[in-house]
Each structure stands twice: as C-alpha cells, then as structure tokens.
C-alpha cells in the first residue's frame, strides 16, 4: 500500500511541477526547462534531517504555508548562484548582488511557481489549497532546511515530495518540496480513487 501511495504522490508532483515550471518558463519568456522525474519518499525525522546534503551551501529558500481543504507546507530551494541567474533573466540586473529587488523578484518567482503547483492540484481534486505570503531567506542550506522542518512541525514521519529541475542552456537548478499534512493527503487520495491511502 505504501508503494501505491508514493506512486500517487509522484504523479501529483509531476503534474504540480509541470505547471510550476511552465509558469517559470513563461516569466522568462519561454526558455525551456527540464524536469528530473519527481520523487516521493516517506522519511523518518532523522532521515528528513539529513535530506539536505551540503549543509553549508548558501541557498535561497522560499517557504509557504498551505491552508484550505488541504493543509501542509511547501518549500522552494535553489543554490544562490542559480537564484541570481533567475534574477538576472527577470530583472536585467547582472550585478549578482542579493539586494532588496533581487529578493523581491525571488519571492515572486517562488510565489508564482508554488501557487501554480497548488493551482494544478486544486483543479484536479476540486480542493482548495491556498498559499500564504511566502517567507524568504538566503542562508546555509542546513539552517534553512531545519527551519522548514520546524515550521512544518515535522516531528516523526514526513511525506516528502520533491522535484528537481534545471534550465536548458543556463545553469539553474532547484528543488520544489511539498510536505502535505498526513490527514489531508488522505483526502486527495480518496478523491482521486486511491482508496483510504
């Protein structure tokens, strides 16, 4: 049963991230993006804690609380170099400086991508999944990931769905991570005919 649940989550991630990267692509006037096939895993706390490998790499983290019929949390993580490429493509600013406008652009990118992801899932399930105003931080990956786990109140087990993406011709990589609340995940499963989850 766990297998079926994870396959289902992978499918959700596929759909969600497809829309998210289409949205990003539109913002960047159609530059092609490629996805690495999403993965869905059920992790225990210690495994979740180790999920981020290079703890000291500086990354941009965008954190959103999801409310409505489905509750949970989402995070969008990208290395700061990739983030600054996106900033350059969007704003024309090639200084590489993480200034207020750069952070604002990144917050908006994260907002649009994550919301597009949720919009796609909502359309499929007819369930409301409303995003909060995004939180933004630029810091060591370990500290950001830890703050995401604490913010998402991940205590023992967590269902983690992630999709890596990268841009054709530009070195942009990122991770979109969805952490649905366990009970609400069951709602989606039932609605899409996967029984009790």
């Amino acid at each position: 049963m766990q297998e079926a649940k994870l396959d289902f989550l992978k499918e959700l991630a596929n759909i969600g991230t497809g829309h998210a990267t289409t949205a990003l692509s539109q913002m960047l006037s159609g530059k092609l993006f490629q996805l690495v096939v999403p993965e869905a895993r059920l992790l225990h706390f210690e495994e979740a804690a180790r999920f981020v490998e290079s703890l000291e790499q500086v990354v941009v983290g965008i954190f959103i609380v999801v409310s409505g019929d489905v509750k949970g949390h989402m995070a969008f993580l990208l290395p700061v170099d990739s983030a600054m490429v996106l900033v350059r493509l969007l704003t024309g600013d090639d200084s590489g400086e993480v200034n207020d406008m750069a952070l604002s652009a990144l917050q908006e990118i994260g907002n649009i991508m994550i919301t597009s992801y949720l919009n796609a899932l909502s359309k499929m399930t007819d369930l409301l999944m409303a995003p909060s105003v995004p939180g933004v931080a630029v810091d060591m990956a370990g500290a950001i990931w830890q703050s995401v786990l604490a913010g998402a109140q991940v205590i023992n087990e967590v269902t983690l769905i992630r999709t890596e993406f990268y841009a054709d011709g530009e070195s942009i990589e990122g991770n979109i991570i969805f952490l649905p609340d366990e009970d609400d995940f069951k709602k989606i499963a039932v609605l899409l005919g996967l029984g009790e989850g």
């Binding site: 949205a23 539109q26 913002m27 969007l90 704003t91 207020d100 406008m101 604002s104 652009a105 917050q107 908006e108 907002n111 649009i112 919301t115 597009s116 949720l118 919009n119 909502s122 359309k123 007819d126 409301l128 999944m129 409303a130 995003p131 909060s132 105003v133």
Partner: protein, 120 residues
Amino acid sequence: MSKTVLITDDTAFMRMTLRNVIEKNGYSVVGEAGDGEEAVALYKELQPDLVTMDITMPKMDGITAIKEIMKIDSDAKIIVCSAMGQKPMVIEALSAGAKDFLVKPFDAERVVESLRKFGS
C-alpha cells in the same frame, strides 16, 4: 489626460513589472500599495480610474480590500492580478466586485486588454 491606475502587490518586483507595462501603454500609475490596507487608504486619497489587486498579501488580503473599496465606490474598476487562480478564489473576487481576474504569470497584452476594456 490619461487614465490613472493604483497598483497593489506585496512584492516590489511585481509592482515594478506592472508599472512598466502600464506606463508603456499610456496609463499613469498614481500610486503603489503593498497590502490591502494601503490599497484602501490610497483609493480614498487618489480616486484612481483603475486598480490592480493582488490576493495573497499581509495585513489585509485582496478580497477584503476589494470589498472595502467597493463600499467606498460601487463603480470602482478593480482588476485582480494574482498567482492564486483556483476557482473558489476567482468566484469570490468577482462576487466581491472585481471586474476581471488575471492569473500570474500573465502577458503584458492581457493586462492592457483588461485595462482598456474596463477603463472607459
């Protein structure tokens, strides 16, 4: 005299992007609001011809702001520009009095089309 627009969005980047599109197409941006509360206050003060409104914002969200502005002026022309495009949200915004709902990311043409349609 060109039509006046009040832009509402919680990110400076989106306000800048919208301003560029709007001004390039012959409209005059008379104010920028970073949340719903500011939008309502600026509406009272500036009485713009048109308003663009985000939904997910701190302090006061877009739906509440739409309702408040409609109370002040039942003829207000509010165009929603939001990433949140789920059906219940669109229905709520339009029922509250918004004239149009543009889902981000949107083309510049789409924004202008909406401004032209409701700005007359």
